[in-house]
């Protein structure tokens, strides 16, 4: 029998969402173990820059803000694809969650009283003495009020460090360098995971009454052309898809961030535009106001990214060193502002492309950034199909983002949903007992050991896992991007099916002994290609345009036929996902005009 560890709650993934859920479950007295690929403070949450949306209304341009306005912005942003009951819960709780983070130690930037001139349009605002010292906020895309609470442009970092401090304080067990490679489930119940120890390659079993998947997004399906960390492969979602039971929601809803740093795809925060930065073309012309008279650079991300590509297609982008980009101009914000409030992105531009934003234009282009889709759950975070299985954060399709997430709503979701889901798990566990069926565990381990043996012995073939993975990413990047078309998507699906056939024939060049990074990668690839097929096939079948999913051959939103959520399952042995569609919960806001983007266009 392999080493077996038993706990009440197993949290897979130790970013913000997982840690917040673990803290909540632990505070109810449950035994919690967290698994993480990396030391928890290295999780991709740390890379969130600009801020966390919470409707305090403390700053001059936030006055009068409240959860209702946050709700309206979020639902519009989602292009009415979000479940409104979750959006409501989220918007009501976001300020509480942000204050709790302050209680735990995050150094939120605060309101400073006095008059200030805005660099963008030269207008003056005045912050009141009465609000001095309260949590302040900056402007962000697609919002009616300044609502984005921040710590310089290192908000994810400070949130994660603060959260992990609480994890340490509570003594929550952290098993880092452990990778879950399969769920253990039987007869509608999830019992935990089979995992691989990345320190020595050994297989372990974790058994738990409740398993929470919080493994983050799947940006690396797009390979190097993503802002995401290299660990953001979406493995939690892939493990769920592998069951054939648990559906992934809206995998075709992929967010492209307007300002990925050209050449290296590193994120340049939306805060750069929120604080007054412009986008310029090759003639140094500020083009966004012509496309978006009301919001200009601060329309929602899906809209700004499309406008940028549209503008580049007119030949107005810059082509250099194998990349195609536009300029982000923040010079007018001044050295002091850039080196305090936008410090990380200023350093990144200097370090990674040798450009000093204080004096020079920063090359940027839309880049894969966020996975709106994920493990479909109910409002409590319980995954469809398996009892005892939960998901939260970017890995989930809880679904408050619909077809386009607003900037600053993702870190906010992690702390709010983590809190809610952790509490629901804790409540579910009150008086709940479970028996672990040993034959199910034995079989689950045997299946993984068999996969490993076959990879090591090249029993199924000698395909190189890195080449297969690169082929997958290239297809998504080329054919399932910002602008989509039926014929291209059909090609993407058939090419990905060929890649999938190759993924089933992977064999190692290394010997599989010990840590073996190639084995770790090889184990993931078939699951990742299945997810890529969910993205491409979902996009092909959705014959409308909604939020980030834009079909040039179906350019309008079609509420009559498509006001619904794609649910993808992968039956055992299938070559394509099976797509079904589920209802979107609409409680307060009927689908309408977003006020920006194509629907607001008069030409």
């Amino acid at each position: 029998m392999v080493e077996t560890i038993i706990t009440d709650v197993l949290v897979v993934g130790a970013g913000l969402a997982g840690e917040r859920a673990a803290i909540e479950a632990s505070s109810y007295g449950h035994d919690v173990i967290m698994l993480s690929l990396v030391p928890p403070r290295r999780s991709h949450s740390a890379a969130a820059q600009g801020g966390m949306q919470a409707s305090f209304g403390n700053s001059a341009k936030g006055l009068g803000d409240n959860p209702d306005i946050h709700f309206a912005d979020t639902v519009k942003g989602s292009d009415w694809g979000a479940d409104q009951d979750r959006v409501r819960l989220f918007c009501d709780l976001a300020p509480v969650a942000a204050r709790q983070m302050a209680h735990w130690g995050i150094p939120w930037n605060r309101v400073v009283a006095g008059k200030k001139q805005l660099p963008k349009d030269g207008s003056w605002i005045e912050d009141s003495k009465e609000n001095e010292g309260l949590i302040t906020a900056r402007d962000f895309g697609g919002v009616a009020k300044w609502r984005c609470c921040y710590t310089s442009d290192g908000t994810g970092h400070t949130l994660l460090y603060t959260m992990d401090n609480v994890v340490v304080q509570l003594g929550i067990k952290m098993h880092d360098r452990i990778e879950a490679i399969s769920l253990i489930y039987d007869d509608g119940t999830c019992y935990g995971v089979v995992a691989r120890n990345l320190r020595n390659g050994e297989i372990r079993v974790y058994l738990a009454k409740s398993t929470i998947i919080a493994t983050g997004g799947a940006g690396r399906l797009y390979g190097m052309m993503s802002t995401n960390a290299v660990i953001s492969e979406g493995m939690g979602q892939a493990l769920c898809l592998d069951t054939g039971i648990v559906p992934l929601g809206n995998m075709e809803a992929v967010q492209f961030h307007p300002t990925g740093l050209a050449h290296v795809s590193i994120l340049m925060t939306e805060g750069a535009r929120g604080d007054g930065g412009y986008l310029l073309d090759k003639n140094l012309h500020r083009f966004m106001p012509e496309y978006e008279p009301k919001k200009a650079e601060l329309a929602s991300r899906d809209v700004v990214s499309r406008r940028m590509v549209e503008h580049m297609r007119k030949g107005l982008g810059i082509e250099e060193a194998g990349d195609h980009f536009l300029w982000l101009d923040v010079r007018h914000l001044g050295k002091e502002h850039l080196e305090t409030n936008l410090r990380d992105v200023t350093e990144m531009a200097r370090d990674f492309v040798g450009v000093d934003p204080v004096k020079e234009l920063v090359p940027v282009r839309p880049t894969q950034h966020y996975t709106m889709g994920g493990i479909r759950t109910n409002i409590d975070g319980a995954a469809s199909g398996l009892k005892g299985l939960y998901a939260c954060g970017e890995a989930s399709c809880w679904d408050m983002h619909g077809f386009n997430r607003l900037g600053g709503n993702s870190v906010a979701e992690t702390v709010v949903a983590g809190m809610i889901v952790g509490r629901k798990v804790a409540e579910h566990l009150e008086g709940y007992e479970v028996s672990y069926p040993t034959h199910v565990i034995r079989d689950a381990v045997a299946r993984q050991e068999d996969r490993i043996n076959r990879l090591v012995k090249c029993s199924d073939g000698k395909e190189n896992c890195y080449e297969v993975s690169a082929a997958m990413s290239e297809i998504l990047e080329k054919r399932v991007h910002i602008f989509r078309q039926g014929p291209e998507l059909e090609k993407a699906v058939s090419e990905l099916q060929e890649v999938y056939a190759r993924a089933l024939k992977i064999g190692l060049r290394s010997n599989g002994v010990g840590v073996d990074p190639e084995l770790a990668q090889a184990l993931k690839i078939p699951g990742l290609v299945r997810m890529a097929l969910c993205v491409a096939y979902g996009a092909l079948k959705r014959t409308e345009s909604r939020g980030s999913h834009y079909r040039e051959d179906f350019p309008s939103r079609d509420d009559k036929n498509w006001l619904k959520r794609t649910l993808a399952r992968w039956p055992e042995g299938a070559e394509l996902p099976e797509l079904k569609y589920g209802k979107i919960v609409i409680t307060e806001s009927q689908p309408g005009d977003r006020g920006y983007g194509e629907s607001a266009r008069k030409d």
Binding site: N109, L134, I135, T151, Y161, V166, H263
Partner: protein, 225 residues
């Protein structure tokens, strides 16, 4: 020591270079990258004798032959990969790396006010990414495994200046008032020179030592920092 040859091109950094080696030459090679943007601290290693972040090191800034070794002090996982996670978790536990307060969080109440200057001052010290460069380059840490190092002292300083933390001088003295803490430093200050985030580590050492001196002379009184 293993040797690999790689063709250089403009913009090539150690993140790309090491991945190319693993994908094309040695699929067993171990190293750690996560954000590849200089903010997560995973990829610290000794690059031609100096600890630094591999992801933001351009090959063009290095000699034709590049020597990479794992960070010392930390337990080796394999090749260039070391176990910083365990070290920093233990440091956080020893430092009591959280806000110590007897106040309960009240979800209905307005947040406690703080000046923006104070928030920025805390943020400055909160910027540590736990990469381990300061520990690997520390003379004391290389000789004594219990030394908290610059990252540990910086963490203490971060909570000393936080008005929400109710610990006083005597409380902090218990944590860092020994050779494993503030008094273990030999003053070589490689930590301050090599910190990839340019944290003011030397200033934090002075801050913590001053506070310890005050606490030593007035152990019963609340000491303001």
């Amino acid at each position: 020591m293993q040797e690999y040859r790689l063709e250089e091109y403009p913009g090539l950094n150690l993140y790309i270079a090491l991945n190319k080696i693993r994908e094309e030459q040695d699929s067993s090679l171990q190293f750690d990258f996560v954000c590849r943007a200089g903010i997560c601290g995973s990829c610290a290693m000794v690059i031609n004798g100096r600890p630094g972040l591999a992801c933001k090191t351009l090959v063009s800034t290095l000699s034709r032959t590049i020597t990479l070794t794992p960070l010392p002090v930390f337990k080796l996982v394999g090749d260039l990969s070391v176990d910083t996670g365990t070290w920093f978790r233990e440091m956080a536990e020893r430092a009591g790396s959280w806000v110590h307060t007897d106040k309960e969080f009240d979800p209905e109440a307005e947040e406690e006010r703080m000046s923006n200057e104070k928030a920025i001052e805390i943020f400055e010290l909160e910027r540590c990414i736990e990469c381990g460069c300061c520990i690997a380059s520390c003379g004391t840490a290389n000789m004594r495994e219990d030394f908290m190092g610059a990252a540990g002292l910086n963490r203490i300083a971060r909570f000393m200046i936080d008005p929400r933390d109710q610990r006083d001088g005597a409380d902090f003295f218990e944590v860092v008032g020994s050779d494993d803490g503030a008094f273990g430093c030999m003053g070589l200050m490689a930590c301050d020179d090599l910190c990839p985030k340019d944290l003011p580590l030397q200033a934090q050492l002075s801050r913590v030592r001053r506070a310890m001196a005050k606490a030593a002379f007035a152990p019963k009184k609340k000491v303001a920092f």
